[in-house]
């Protein structure tokens, strides 16, 4: 009897607990008092910020930055949109005009807008800019301290709306520091920081804002940040484009991919920053209100970043371009596209991301050159380029994906990319033999008689797309008789990449403005002057540690011409031709970001048909979509 009594009490307690769950849960209402139809909820891909109350973005690693802080709380002179932009790609934000250089690029003059105010009512002036630069010069451990130290001889403000930078050496791209592509050198509020003893140790709590929104509240545990539209939003640079739609912005950490899917299915996350292809497909199938960048397949937004197989060219095995080319001709890009993105990849054979202005400036115009391009295998000359590879990927997907796959060639090129290298194991064999390699039994051997072993370093589960691409490439090489292995680096990747502790890895050393054809954003760092010795840390971004006099000449010429000089495009094409011949990296595809937008509460999202802004919510440039968003209900 006693046992029954005890058991019945336990069962009753559990029953009561279950019955009261709905009552106390109020159907997952995650917000206590924000009106949902005025609130835009975006994913912060930084996750949970462990030092949540730190808003000093000028201190490295102090706290979060994609918490809305740099998207809507900061501002600087110029923005370049990776897409078309609201009013063109270039936007004069705090500056009223483009940068004005002197003839030899040793001076840059900036005219500032009038009538821009900090959220505490203090007017923004040239004094803020001078303070920003001088403070960081005095503190080289601040975010832009080092780069200002190396470039700026002096900075002055002849009047409240003019700033003059005298540079230590000619630099035709100095303005790029103050031009947002994801971020830029944000301007500091002089009237706040000048009262602080050590700007590196100041948390900038209760941050004032130069953007259209101001901090309302945040979670001390770093899960969410809420920004509210400023009453005086017209007195910010974004005010030129009209009133932003959402009154409140919530930047939150929704958790791992499956929870992002659930959150959007429950309409509690308006913008998913990125997700694995499977998550994208689930949302596309189960939610009528979820949209990707493309209306249908392949959905994702191609970032101006180029995942590639990067050779460590200081490694003896990869010093010979014939070996690099042989390995490229063994890659089945269709298989890589399927393995990494389930086919939703935008491939690129050349060392430029197939996004923004680039397909029309580089990929398209260079098709004839690519078709005619020849590789000498030592026994014959082959034309490795297959201009229909993107179309073939689209065709192979059509039976399973149906009408989602475009049939128009232009749309296919934009979504899936144009051509790539046709797998050619025979030519690869000839190239390896030309380089002194030989096959013994089923195994390829190096000229020194050792097994040809290649480790392909990948990041692991933190970057699944590229990890899957690496695994597929390893498989391609293994099938040919090369002892290839996946090398999962996880959190050690930045350290190993910098130290050159890898054979090859899947990552990117090419990233561009996207919306502007100038390539100096990444190309300048490929100059041989920056290549580190074996064993020493390699500065970003030439992870392949490749030095080439011809490339140096291209870079040096680009340094002497203006940002908008049309000669830049011709030099860019020369760069493409050179690295196609030399293959120091094997370009694979754009880094397609599966940013998913929900139309339940907001409409007017940017997409491939109306590419007025980049929707990827951790980009500083994503602020422009706020002025186009309107309540859906």
């Amino acid at each position: 009897m006693k046992i029954k009594r005890i058991m019945s009490r336990v069962v009753a307690a559990i029953g009561i607990g279950l019955c009261t769950l709905p009552a106390i849960s109020t159907a997952q209402s995650a917000f206590s008092d924000l009106p949902r139809n005025e609130t835009l909820i975006l994913e912060n891909p930084e996750g949970t910020i462990k030092n949540a109350g730190w808003f000093n973005i000028w201190a490295i690693s102090g706290g979060g930055q994609s918490t809305g802080l740099h998207q809507v709380g900061m501002d600087t002179f110029w923005y370049i949109d990776p897409e078309k932009g609201l009013d063109g790609v270039w936007d004069n934000s705090l500056a009223s005009d483009k940068p004005i250089y002197n003839a030899d690029f040793t001076e840059m003059r900036v005219k500032l807008r009038k009538g821009i105010f900090w959220s505490d009512g203090v007017e923004f002036t040239a004094a803020d800019v001078v303070y920003t630069v001088e403070t960081q010069i005095k503190n080289p451990a601040m975010r832009w301290g080092a780069v200002f130290n190396l470039n700026v001889a002096s900075v002055t403000a002849p009047d409240p709306t003019t700033v003059v930078f005298k540079l230590k050496k000619p630099n035709s791209r100095f303005h790029a520091l103050f031009t947002v592509r994801w971020n830029g050198a944000w301007i500091m509020p002089k009237h706040v920081f000048e009262k602080v003893a050590d700007p590196l140790k100041f948390d900038f709590a209760n941050p004032i804002s130069l953007g259209a929104y101001v901090m309302k509240s945040f979670d001390p545990d770093g899960k969410w940040y809420i920004w509210q539209l400023r009453d005086d939003w017209q007195r910010t640079s974004l005010g030129r484009f009209g009133k932003p739609g959402p009154k409140y912005l919530v930047y939150m950490d929704p958790g791992p991919p499956e929870k992002r899917v659930i959150a959007q299915l429950n309409h509690q996350l308006d913008v998913v920053h990125d997700i694995a292809p499977e998550g994208m497909f689930t949302l596309a199938k189960q939610s009528k209100t979820s949209l990707g960048w493309f209306k249908g397949f392949p959905y994702g937004h191609p970032d101006p970043t180029l995942p590639a197989l990067i050779f460590n060219t200081q490694n003896e095995m990869f010093k010979n371009k014939d070996v690099r080319w042989a390995l490229a001709l063994l890659i089945d890009i269709k298989g890589v596209s399927m393995a990494s993105y389930r086919g939703a990849a935008t491939i690129s054979a050349i060392g430029i991301p197939p996004t923004g202005t680039h397909p029309s400036v580089y990929h398209g115009p260079m098709q004839d050159w690519l078709k005619a391009f020849e590789v000498d295998t030592g026994k014959r000359k082959i034309k490795p380029y297959d201009p229909n590879m993107g179309k073939e990927i689209a065709d192979s997907l059509r039976p399973s994906m149906g009408a989602q796959i475009p049939t128009d060639r232009k749309q296919i090129d934009a979504a899936f990319g144009m051509g790539w290298w046709k797998p050619n194991p025979t030519a690869a064999k000839e190239l390896l033999e030309k380089a002194g390699y030989k096959k013994v039994g089923a195994q390829w051997m190096t000229p020194e008689g050792k097994p040809f072993t290649i480790r392909v370093m990948v990041e692991g589960d933190t970057r699944p797309i590229m990890t899957r691409a690496g695994s597929m490439i390893v498989q391609n090489w293994k099938q040919f008789g090369i002892d290839a292995k996946v090398d999962v680096a996880q959190g050690t990747l930045p350290t190993r990449r910098s130290a050159g502790d890898f054979d090859t890895f899947i990552g990117w050393s090419v990233e561009t403005w996207g919306g502007h054809p100038d390539l100096s954003y990444f190309l300048d760092s490929w100059h041989s002057q920056f290549v580190a010795e074996v064993g020493k840390p390699q500065p970003a971004r030439n992870w392949q540690r490749w030095a080439n006099p011809e490339l140096d000449k291209i870079i040096e010429t680009i340094r002497t011409i203006g940002f908008d000089d049309p000669r830049g495009i011709e030099l860019g094409k020369e760069y493409v031709k050179l690295i196609t011949r030399e293959m120091p990296i094997i370009p694979l595809m754009a880094y397609n970001v599966f940013t998913v937008m929900d139309e339940t509460y907001w409409k007017g999202w940017p997409n491939s048909a109306n590419p007025y802004a980049n929707p990827v919510p951790n980009w500083g440039n994503s602020r422009y979509m706020l002025v186009k968003l309107k309540p859906a209900k």
């Binding site: 006693k2 046992i3 058991m7 336990v10 769950l21 709905p22 849960s25 159907a27 997952q28 209402s29 995650a30 917000f31 206590s32 924000l34 949970t48 462990k50 030092n51 490295i60 690693s61 102090g62 706290g63 080289p140 451990a141 975010r143 080092a146 780069v147 130290n149 190396l150 520091l177 592509r181 994801w182 830029g184 590196l200 509240s217 979670d219 001390p220 545990d221 899960k223 969410w224 809420i226 919530v250 929704p254 958790g255 791992p256 659930i262 959150a263 429950n266 959190g491 050690t492 930045p494 350290t495 190993r496 910098s498 300048d524 760092s525 920056f530 840390p537 500065p539 970003a540 971004r541």
Partner: protein
């Protein structure tokens, strides 16, 4: 009493030695990590931003100086111990210059609240049901519970967590699936906030309890099954002592000793955090803090969390050793 004091002092000495060795091992391991916090910081800056290679070299130098990584290994080791004896683990390198202790102090209450409650509830329920099942071996309900416990016991936390996530977050969406409390809630000590915290802790706690109860249940059932065959239990039954008294005063009390040890050990590991649970449910706590610190190569923070964990487990063992003679008269200090 003198013997007990000597015994206690010996155990205290062992405790201090274990902590010293443990912290040193943790120091060596964290400093042997291939992850360089300076490179991690630089990678974060250069991942998106436009920074020239020359500037990166200068930044690298400046950060090494700022983070205090410039001294010799011996100097760094001496500084570490100087700090640790004053309870200061220095600044977190991935949240510079915020002190490690501040970050731990912010995360610990969440983990302690979640794990303390769920561990105690799990322990009590598991042992109670296990004790009943071991004593009333023919009861069908308890047999069924035994089968369920046996089935749930080997299920990993992340599976139970994921199932709960899908069931209560998507199929029957009545519970929050992420965070420690509601967005934009006034984080004062008031009813709304408390209810919000409780609501957010239900799923993570349930995922831990579902599996944990099975473990305690099975352990206690086995122990009780052995004890009930002892002569003194048979004698008590023949003597007409009530079942309730036999169960709770004779059987379960004797079977409890290893379970109490287990509880203390489990409570000691609270300082490790429930890493997987916290990741799955996006719950703020020590586990999530530790994972982030490992990825960032923030060895100051890793050491801080690890030291707490070492002290927690060692202190639990010490406590058990000290109270064992009180719990079980058969164990004597001498």
């Amino acid at each position: 009493m003198r013997a007990f004091i000597i015994y206690g002092l010996k155990r205290l000495g062992q405790f201090l030695l274990v902590v010293f060795i443990g912290v040193n091992i943790a120091y060596i391991i964290t400093h042997a990590t291939p992850i360089d916090p300076v490179e991690q910081s630089i990678a974060a800056v250069t991942a998106y931003g436009n920074t020239s290679p020359e500037a990166i070299d200068l930044m690298r130098e400046s950060l090494r100086e700022l983070y205090g990584l410039k001294g010799s290994p011996l100097e760094q080791y001496a500084t570490f111990w100087r700090r640790i004896v004053t309870g200061d683990f220095g600044p977190s390198l991935s949240s510079f210059p915020t002190p490690v202790m501040t970050l731990i102090a912010r995360a610990l209450p969440w983990t302690a609240g979640l794990l303390l409650t769920s561990t105690l509830l799990t322990w009590m329920l598991g042992n109670l049901l296990g004790g009943l099942a071991g004593y009333y071996r023919d009861n069908k309900t308890l047999k069924l519970i035994g089968v369920i416990a046996m089935g749930l016991h080997p299920v990993p936390y992340y599976i139970s967590g994921f199932v709960l996530l899908v069931v209560f977050g998507y199929i029957w969406p009545i519970l929050p699936i992420t965070g420690g409390s509601d967005i934009n809630i006034n984080q004062q000590f008031d009813l709304n906030h408390v209810v919000s915290i409780l609501k957010h802790s239900i799923l993570p706690a349930a995922s831990l309890m579902l599996i944990g109860i099975g473990s305690w249940f099975l352990g206690m059932r086995s122990l009780v099954s052995n004890v009930v065959t002892e002569d003194y239990v048979t004698y008590a039954q023949l003597g007409g002592v009530s079942h309730q008294r036999i169960l709770f005063s004779y059987v379960m009390r004797n079977a409890m000793v290893p379970q109490v040890t287990g509880l203390a050990m489990t409570l000691g590991t609270i300082f490790n955090g429930a890493i997987i649970t916290e990741q799955i449910f996006g719950y703020p706590g020590i586990g999530a803090l530790l994972v982030g610190a490992v990825y960032a190569g923030d060895y100051g923070l890793v050491l801080g969390v690890t030291t707490f964990s070492i002290i927690g487990v060692s202190a639990a063992v010490l406590l058990i050793d000290l109270i064992y003679p009180l719990l079980d008269p058969r164990v004597e200090a001498s």
